[in-house]
Symmetry: C2
Subunit: 469 residues, 2 copies
């Protein structure tokens, strides 16, 4: 693959040409060059991942403007880093040195909501929560709900194939993307997919773009599948005296054919962190807290059945909610988890290893061993129903030795995930954070074909170079 | 893309070399060369599509044997046509002249069924019904149910991204393929995807192979997602005095937030054909018959709600089943539809146009107009809940003028589908039958990128050449 020599930001002449050319197709207010401003676009939430300084930040409002940006980038061989709300956790939206940051946040119109066809058509800058509420007014439901849903954009969700709490029942973003309009590296516009419920005309390029972290093209419009809004969910909390028992309950629930709308696990470390921060009065003896929810027509019956399975697996206490308010209360501990873990040491590195759910207990035991080995606090929050764990390494970045141990433990957690038949990333993506690990997961032949696909779409390697590979 | 000159089957010397090389890695009984036998592998069910004569048919039983076949094919530049049960309807499995037919039917082992992880691992030659029944014994459900499910293979289902009656609730084959082992054109083995519930490591190559009609690689193993087995479904039949009223009912049902497990429509022509063949005593006044089913925990309540919507849309009669036996009886007319339409003239050409369900009425009216214009019998069976119509053109192949009109009407139906915002194929694929139409649907930029993907995986163009493009 050809390597691009990016113009250095010091290279004022080159940047001047770049900006002049961009201004040929963009209004002045859509082209930001003040270094203090552009520097603020350097990072997503993976602040410890390396990032360069953008040469310029552009904020197009139309497809034509995006095409102009890509034509300019191709002409000058300047790398382009597409960005949404920069809430990603893998550095996929981090700037590379001298790049054009292409922020899609101003393309934020919902173009259509169709309750008969159960689709929405949206621009990439629409915020997840805005779309979710808008479709909700039509009795519809857009399930993908990453933790950052109040801030993150649909385009970012598509770029990172993001998940959330709902995935155990409703799957990930990928399953809701029916068709895309994409501006290619050279500025041409391509439509993929469909607005119908089914369609198999040619290769599924739509799905190829989902999770491609802006490395194959710029999504400028998406046709999204919707579902009818389900009834409000009812939540059950179950406390266990061991993580293994909680994982056993997860297996029994899934093997028993239940379809929870949420099945989350917090380990001892996380429970303690939440207690310390928010005085939630969760019992100190709790080694694992399991939260299950059902959004069925008879959720109380489902909770009763699942509660019995939890007890059979050794739950020390089972608390089913009676109504939505109680449910919300039970979920609060889960919602506070990451903030509470952050408070332990100031900084966290959130891993995202997904294992077959039958191996979840081994994963949690392994993380405990790793925490002990590296003398670190590592809390685990898990989308347990999916086997998707977020081992969260707490460390003080001012302490170089602890930082090194944090990084090493983070890697050892991924190695463990692979050993258990899992993946290094269930929903956060590869970005910069895990690019050395991608090859370990998919092997040399897979890597070669991944690169061949990249080469087919971006022969000049100007689209988010240095990410994924 | 490079064009391959296939060795002609008359070219005995070349075929001799090919067979000798194949026998270097395959047992004698896995290499068929008797022309009478190999000729029987020339076609799938699209018998009117052109097909060549295979030079040889191979029936490998192991991954290594498939790798040997592909290495041989690459060395000699011989095209390879992968086949399952040859029940496809688009000619995607039709032999090309002088090709190796690579039949995967002997790789038919179910390698694993895991109720906790809700996955099955299967070889490509496993028959859909065999897998469905096997997972059913574990309380699990593999939804994809093409009409040919008693004969068709999982590998064929993956290659064509096939659908079925269940799709309105459970989606198509693509949604159940989590990971693949694929033998590439040059014989190397690649693993894609995962066996976990989620995973976003790198580009989604798994999904790229689904529906690729054997043109990118040979699927030799699949990890399939499963669901818990739902309760048995209960069926309702509703008769309408116009197709438009039946389509209106479909829209009301979907807009109303209902999630039927089946929502099928038969038009007047189909109802008449079934009556003529099977004396089903469906009222002659029926202009459209709608069948809806629910596999929920309280299906009678769902049927009542949907029945009321049908009546509001003008249904002349609504018949809800009381039990599984009655449900089966109501479904019989649907099951007999294609056989009954075949009986009209001896041969049918089954189209597969999918439109947004809000445009279903226009599609049906349009097909009526086209049937009249071309003086043909065209019956429509539709997966109405998905907007996926199967206008079935009845014609006598011995009548050249009628055959010409059949072909023209078939094309006009696709044009109408595109005009209504639909796709030329909802679930049958492109194959040979619709390859001239693919470009019309996806446009020149899309075609170029489709070809670039093909080029990346199959630079010598030996994998099912002449299909799709």
């Amino acid at each position: 693959m050809s390597r691009i020599e990016a113009p250095r930001s010091e290279d004022t002449a080159a940047t001047g040409t770049l900006v002049d050319l961009l201004l040929g197709g963009l209004p002045a207010e859509a082209v930001l060059t003040d270094p203090d401003v552009t520097a603020s676009y350097a990072n997503d939430m993976a602040s410890f991942c390396p990032a360069g300084t953008p040469a310029v930040v552009v904020l197009p409002r139309t497809v034509e403007q995006v095409q102009h940006v890509m034509r300019t980038a191709t002409a000058l061989r300047v790398p382009v880093v597409p960005q949404g709300a920069r809430t990603g956790l893998s550095g996929a939206a981090n700037a590379s040195e001298g790049c054009i940051v292409l922020s899609l946040t101003k393309m934020d119109r919902i173009l259509e909501i169709n309750p008969v066809d159960r689709i929405a058509v949206a621009e990439p800058g629409v915020i997840n929560a805005v779309l979710s509420r808008a479709v909700g007014e039509h009795g519809l439901y857009y399930p993908p709900d990453p933790s950052s849903w109040e801030m993150c954009t649909i385009g970012g969700n598509i770029g990172t194939a993001s998940g959330g709490l709902c995935c155990v029942k409703y799957g990930v973003t990928a399953e809701y993307v029916l068709g895309l309009d994409v501006v290619l590296a050279d500025g041409r516009l391509m439509s993929t997919g469909r607005r119908t419920a089914k369609g198999v005309a040619g290769y599924d390029l739509t799905r190829l773009f989902v999770g491609s972290e802006g490395s194959l093209g710029i999504v400028v419009r998406a046709v999204l599948g919707l579902r009818p809004k389900p009834p409000e969910q009812l939540v059950l909390a179950a406390e266990f005296a061991s993580a293994a028992a909680a994982c056993d309950a997860v297996c029994r629930i899934m093997e028993g054919g239940h379809v929870p709308s949420l099945l989350e696990l917090m380990d001892r470390t996380t429970v303690k962190a939440v207690n310390d921060m928010a005085q939630m009065d969760l019992p100190e003896s709790t080694e694992a807290l399991l939260l299950a929810a059902f959004d069925t027509t008879a959720p109380a019956a489902d909770l009763a059945a699942v509660g019995a399975l939890c007890e059979a697996a050794g739950a020390t206490q089972v608390v089913p909610a009676d109504d939505a308010a109680e449910s919300e209360l039970l979920l609060q501990a889960r919602r506070l988890s990451l903030t509470a873990l952050e408070a332990v040491k100031g900084v966290t590195m959130i891993d995202d290893v997904c294992v077959p759910r039958s191996r979840l207990a081994e994963m949690l035991e392994g993380v405990d061993r790793i925490a002990e080995k590296y003398r670190l606090t590592i809390g685990v929050v898990a989308h347990a129903g999916d086997g998707n764990t977020h081992p969260t390494v707490c460390f003080d970045p001012a302490d170089p030795d602890e930082s090194r141990r944090a990084r090493e433990s983070f890697d050892e957690i991924m190695a463990l995930g692979l050993e258990l038949g899992g993946t290094i990333t269930g929903e956060h993506g590869v970005g910069v954070l895990k690019k050395e690990w991608l090859a370990r997961e998919i092997g040399p032949v897979g890597m070669e074909m991944q690169r061949a696909v990249k080469q087919a779409f971006d022969p000049l390697n100007i689209l988010n170079p240095g990410k994924l590979f």
